[in-house]
Symmetry: C2
Amino acid sequence: MAGRVKGNVAFLAAPPNMAHGRRPAFPVSHPARYAVVIAGGSGTRFWPRSRTRAPKQLLALLGARTMLQETVARVSPPIARDHVLVVTGRAQARAVRRQLPWLRERLLVEPEARNTAAAIALAALWVAEHAPGATMAVLPADHAIGDRRRFRRDLAAALALAERTGALVTIGIRPTHAETGYGYIRVGAALPGTRGRAARVAAFIEKPERARAEALLARGNVLWNSGIFAWRAETILDVLRRHLPDVVGPLARARARGLAAVYRRLPSISIDHGALERAERVVVVRASFPWSDVGSWAAVAALRAGANGRNAVRGRVVPIDSRGCLVDSPERLVALVGVENLVVVDTPDAVLVCRRDRAQDVRLVVEQLRRRGMGRYL
Amino acid sequence: MAGRVKGNVAFLAAPPNMAHGRRPAFPVSHPARYAVVIAGGSGTRFWPRSRTRAPKQLLALLGARTMLQETVARVSPPIARDHVLVVTGRAQARAVRRQLPWLRERLLVEPEARNTAAAIALAALWVAEHAPGATMAVLPADHAIGDRRRFRRDLAAALALAERTGALVTIGIRPTHAETGYGYIRVGAALPGTRGRAARVAAFIEKPERARAEALLARGNVLWNSGIFAWRAETILDVLRRHLPDVVGPLARARARGLAAVYRRLPSISIDHGALERAERVVVVRASFPWSDVGSWAAVAALRAGANGRNAVRGRVVPIDSRGCLVDSPERLVALVGVENLVVVDTPDAVLVCRRDRAQDVRLVVEQLRRRGMGRYL
């Protein structure tokens, strides 16, 4: 594939017959590029819409397709659909197959949740076995990304960077406010020949308290850690072997029947802590696309709401003097009288009425339900 | 029945074998006393709980029994159960019979709603025909009354006053705030021998705007018009014949089959406008009992809420940092996060989320539903 070469970095130019956003019938992709979609989360912040069997990534919170389906659609191009893997948990496997019926053997099911280091190791072993030397993009299944064209361009650039340099590549998001819910990346020296679009990672910074978040923003030269990565499968496996022992070895040796026993003993740790913060060559590509991790109903409200306090509605609503509300009620009519900035989510057995700026505390409802032995609502 | 006689007014003393609040097996009542419960309203302020077939008075908003059942239970004593009549509309007749199965022929069904003058005229004709010379108490089916003992005492006093003086007797409530939703009574000269408990009505005052309500309260000597009355059946019929023609005559002449035709042509007017404001001898008894007309969900919230902002709940609720809310959701779990002073009412096809102090505007939801052709929600 033709590309401009500048310095030691190659950027993949879009093939001439690929129009903006359209997927060709037989997608042309680098033969050794894979996408690994991490779809095992079981968060609690989207209750009551999300349940154990149907966590956030399996829901259609923002449109007609589920977040998982959107994530998979988004990566082709630059990655062919038959090079997409999904990693998920046992409770969600059936639903994932229903949503992506063509997946076949490219669905990796974890017997237990052990955070992203184990999930990525499992996927990297699969890629290394099936396509030695291949690169893999790693993507969370539950983010919202605007501007697909720019996303695909940046993803292709990240993959090309990984191929050329062998580094671990992360995609960083320009921060728009002092967010305390994301990890940050301190940006180091720019990589030559990338026109400032890529740089070394100087440090990873934990989710900061508010004061620190504001200081980081003020000082500048930080990016949000998007959780989207690109690397050669063998590279991440090497890094994990060196810095997080007892993960790759046991997984590599396990047969299908032995996976449960291995998982029981695996550490539960993110790829960020387990590998990225310990590795030597980590670089960041600055994202050019709009991004949200859709962390709560408030984020859904912001993404779906119109201007001027218009309510965001899925279902039937009668609003009387009410604004800025998110109503998610496909089956029942919802009437609002004199209220502002509420999230109202209706399901067959439970209704949520939540102040929009308290959406993070929906997890406290889930905690209460567990504590009170009301697991049937989970 | 023994009673103290002072001046020209007799007060009925409680029979010695009637303990506080208990109804004797064979209730002793004045042979010529009836209670007429007006149960025909079809208000819109209790949507979505109230529907056309199940308006407010047929709902159990405050306890296990419906408001109609409470009203009927409340009047015995001093009135025997087989002296209780109920007036209602066609759409509610079946539900009324289900709630009061012993009613038999004492259920009067109006073909159309024509406000209280017509309903009372219909009932008065029935009473005059079945028990000449009898007095009748008139009571709305949808009020909340605390302290049954005091209520029964005041009701008996009002009936006795009507029997002794032939006046139209109304019960007036001591105002506790500048309410704009009730009519007021300006209190005139005290009736001798009643120790200030009864007085002439100087004037009836329309539901005032806020400024006037405050002025009335400040000036004092006003009472709220409770809509509870007592009079001889023949007396109210005389007053209506004189001051509101074309009501009593046509009703008296109508046979069962002719009632619909008569009702079509009746004026729709309250008994207050049609008779009380025009009659010569109208007196008021000061109520000694707590009273609410339960005009909206806000009133239900106030009556059911505990102290210190505790939520009033019917059903299952998970409140996170939420207070002062009314939740009426017998079938579905409701989770509240960070909200205050809301009314949340859940029904199988519709959910209401209403700011507590905007409860009067629930009628605007009903208007919208009608306007948008969504009558199935009514």
